[in-house]
C-alpha cells in the first residue's frame, strides 16, 4: 500500500502482567481499540511503550502481535531504536520480514558524536531495508543531538524511502526549519508532531501527530485533528488547551501516569517496568479528579 501518514496516529503502551511479563492478550485488545477509535496509523514501541525496558526478543514477539492485530486496516510502523545499533538493524530486518509498513528510528542514544554521524547512521539504516523510514527528532531528550533542515534535505535526496519525521522539539523554529527544507524536495513528506500539539504544528503545515493520550481520550484527539484540518481554530484552541493539560499530567514519569489513567478508563494495562514507577493509588485518584474536571470521564469511551 502507499503509505499515508496523516491525522492522529497511535503508539500503544505495552500492557504488562502483575509479574511485569508482557500481556499479549491485553496488547491485542489495546491495539484493536486504537484502530477502532480512529487511529490513522499505529506505531510501536515508542518510548511510551517502554521500548528501553523490553528485551530485543520481547520487542520482536510483540511487534508480530501488533502487526497481526492491525491486519492491514491502517499502516503500522515499528520503532527500531535501541542502545546498540546492531540491535536497531536487527529490529529493522525483523520488521520487514514481519510485514510491517514502515520503521521509525531516533538519532542514536547516549553518545556525543558529530552531526555527520547522524547522516551516516540514517543512510545505513535506510539502505538496509526496503521499507519506508520515519526519522525521529527529539533534541530535548537527547542533549541537543538533532536533525537540521540541511541534513534532512540531504537525507531525502539520498534515501527514496525517507518519507516522514516524528518531530518532538515542540519548537516552532526547529519544526518549521525541517518542514520547509523537506517539502520542496518531497512534497508529501509528513512532519508529525511528537505528541499531539496539533494546533501549532498543523497550522505550520504538519501532517498530524503521534498521540500521547489516545488510550485515554481518543475522541478528543480525533476531534482536535479534525478542527485543525478544517481550520476551525477557535474550536481547535479549546480542544488543544484541554489536551495539553492532560499531557502535563502524563509527561511526568511517562508513561506511568498514562498507564494509571488507563485504569480509570476501564482499560487496565498493568504496571510499568522499573526504573519507572507504577502509578500509586493516590496518583490514580489525582488523575481521576483531573480527568473528571476536564470532562474526559463524561465524553470518552469506558472499557474496551
Amino acid at each position: 500500500m502507499t503509505l499515508v501518514l496523516k491525522g492522529v496516529m497511535q503508539s500503544p503502551v505495552t500492557p504488562l502482567k502483575r509479574d511485569f511479563s508482557p500481556d499479549y492478550e491485553t496488547f491485542e485488545k489495546l491495539v484493536d481499540f486504537h484502530v477502532r477509535t480512529g487511529a490513522t496509523a499505529i506505531s510501536w514501541p515508542h518510548h511510551k511503550a517502554e521500548s528501553h525496558n523490553l528485551t530485543i526478543a520481547e520487542r520482536k514477539a510483540l511487534a508480530e502481535v501488533a502487526i497481526k492485530t492491525v491486519a492491514k486496516r491502517v499502516p503500522i510502523s515499528i520503532h527500531v531504536s535501541a542502545l546498540a545499533l546492531e540491535d536497531t538493524f536487527d529490529l529493522a530486518r525483523h520488521a520487514q520480514a514481519s510485514d510491517a509498513d514502515a520503521i521509525i528510528a531516533i538519532t542514536p542514544y547516549f553518545w556525543k558524536y558529530p552531526p555527520e554521524a547522524i547522516y551516516g547512521h540514517f543512510v545505513r539504516l535506510g539502505t538496509s531495508i526496503d521499507l519506508p523510514l520515519i526519522a525521529y527528532n527529539s533534541p530535548s531528550y537527547l542533549a541537543g543531538v538533532e536533525f537540521t533542515g540541511e541534513m534532512t534535505a540531504r537525507l531525502i535526496q539520498r534515501l527514496p524511502n525517507f518519507v516522514a519525521m516524528k518531530e518532538a522539539s515542540f519548537n516552532s523554529e526547529k519544526f518549521f526549519e525541517i518542514l520547509r527544507a523537506a517539502v520542496p524536495l518531497r512534497p508529501d513528506f509528513a512532519m508529525i508532531a511528537g505528541v499531539e500539539y496539533l494546533l501549532p504544528s498543523v497550522a505550520l503545515g504538519g501532517a498530524g501527530s503521534y498521540s500521547s493520550a489516545g488510550a485515554i481520550c481518543p475522541n478528543l484527539c480525533v476531534e482536535l485533528y479534525r478542527s485543525c484540518a478544517d481550520e476551525n481554530w477557535e474550536r481547535a484552541r479549546e480542544l488543544q488547551y484541554k489536551l495539553s493539560q492532560l499531557w502535563l499530567i502524563f509527561r511526568d514519569q511517562y508513561p506511568s501516569s498514562l498507564k494509571g489513567g488507563c485504569v480509570i478508563m476501564g482499560r487496565p494495562v498493568g504496571p510499568t517496568r522499573p526504573p519507572l514507577p507504577t502509578a500509586s493509588p493516590e496518583r490514580i485518584k489525582f488523575i481521576e479528579k483531573r480527568l473528571d474536571e476536564l470532562g474526559i470521564l463524561q465524553t470518552e469511551p469506558h472499557g474496551w
Binding site: 518549521f176 520547509r180 500539539y197 494546533l199 497550522a203 505550520l204 488547551y241
Partner: protein, 304 residues
C-alpha cells in the same frame, strides 16, 4: 487600563553617533516605522541596545520618543534591568513621561527562582501603573523561564498585569501559559516576541513584537494581517521568508540588524561596545543572503 491592545509593535534600533544617541536619526527612524505599519513602538528593546544605555540615556530616549511620536501610536517602554529598584524607577519614569505600557524581562544575570521573579515583576508593575507585559525569552536569559504558576501569582497581585510576550517558541510552554492565564483572566494578552506568527497565532497570540520590522516592515505587516485572520495556509510563503530572515539575523544579532539597515539606506551607526560592528565580509554575506529572500525585494529603501 485593560483596553490597551498590543497589536503589531515594532522594536526600533537605536542610532548612535560618537557623542551618544543620534536623536536626529532616531526621530527619522521612528517616523519610518510609523509610516510602515507599526501600531505601536517598543523601546529600547534588545534590538535597540537597551542593555548598553545608561539609566539617564534610557530616560532621555523615552522622553524624546514620546514627544516625537506625539500620540500617533502608543509608546511601550522596556524597563528590564538586573536590579528591581532600578527597573521600578524606570517604570515610574516611563509613567510620568507618558508611556502607554511597560515591558520587563526577567532580571539580568541573577537567574532568580520563580518566587523572586514574582516579587521583581510586582515591584515594577506597582511602580509604574500602566498595562504591564512580561517578556519570556529563556534562550537570551540563561534559560530562566517565567513559569505559568508565577504568571498566575502575578495576576493575583497586579491588576495592571496585561500579558506575556514570548520568544521561547516552545509549544508546551506557550499553550500552558495561555491556558492558565486566560482561565484566571480571560482578556490576558499573549504576544509573539518572534515573527513565527503562524504557530503563535494558532495558539492564541493577538499581538506581535517584531525586531525584524527594522528591515522587513512590509513582510511583517502582511504576515501579521493574514495570521490575525487565521488564514494560516495563505501565510505559509511569508512565514517561510520570515523564518529565513530570522535565522540569518539570529547569529549576527544587533550588529547584523544594523548592517542590514545600513544596506537598505538607513544608516543607524555602529552598535555600542562590547558589540562590534559586523566585519565587511560578514556584512556582505548577510546582505547577499537577504537579497535572495523574495519578500525583501519590495521592502522600503531609505528613510521614507
Amino acid at each position: 487600563m485593560t483596553a490597551f491592545k498590543f497589536g503589531l509593535v515594532h522594536a526600533p534600533l537605536t542610532p548612535f553617533s560618537e557623542s551618544g544617541v543620534d536623536y536626529e536619526r532616531y526621530g527619522r527612524l521612528l517616523d519610518f516605522h510609523m509610516r510602515h505599519g507599526a501600531e505601536g513602538l517598543a523601546l529600547p528593546m534588545h534590538a535597540g541596545e537597551s542593555v548598553s544605555l545608561t539609566a539617564e540615556e534610557r530616560q532621555a530616549l523615552v522622553e524624546f520618543a514620546i514627544s516625537h511620536v506625539g500620540g500617533r501610536v502608543p509608546v511601550i517602554v522596556n524597563v528590564s534591568e538586573a536590579g528591581t529598584a532600578i527597573a521600578a524607577s524606570l517604570a515610574a519614569h516611563a509613567k510620568r513621561a507618558g508611556a502607554s505600557a511597560l515591558i520587563a524581562s526577567v532580571p539580568y544575570y541573577w537567574t532568580p527562582p520563580q518566587a523572586m521573579l514574582v516579587e521583581h515583576f510586582a515591584a515594577i508593575g506597582e511602580a509604574g501603573v500602566l498595562p504591564f507585559f512580561v517578556f519570556n525569552s529563556p534562550s537570551e536569559m540563561s534559560e530562566v523561564e517565567i513559569g505559568s504558576p508565577a504568571v498566575v501569582n502575578l495576576l493575583d497581585r497586579l491588576p495592571n498585569f496585561a500579558g506575556l510576550i514570548d520568544s521561547s517558541l516552545d509549544w508546551q510552554y506557550m499553550i500552558e501559559v495561555v491556558t492558565v492565564a486566560r482561565a484566571a483572566r480571560p482578556d490576558f494578552q499573549f504576544v509573539s516576541g518572534t515573527e513565527y506568527m503562524i504557530s503563535a497565532g494558532a495558539i492564541g497570540a493577538t499581538g506581535l513584537l517584531s525586531p525584524l520590522a527594522s528591515i522587513s516592515p512590509r513582510l511583517v505587516r502582511e504576515l501579521y494581517n493574514i495570521c490575525r485572520r487565521e488564514s494560516y495556509k495563505e501565510a505559509y510563503g511569508l512565514q517561510e521568508d520570515a523564518a529565513i530572515l530570522f535565522r540569518a539575523l539570529r547569529d549576527v544579532g544587533v550588529p547584523g540588524l544594523k548592517a542590514a539597515a545600513r544596506s537598505f539606506g538607513r544608516d543607524c551607526g555602529n552598535p555600542r561596545p562590547p558589540l562590534p560592528a559586523l566585519d565587511a565580509a560578514t556584512a556582505k554575506t548577510l546582505v547577499e543572503q537577504l537579497a535572495l529572500v523574495h519578500s525583501m525585494k519590495v521592502e522600503p529603501r531609505g528613510w521614507t
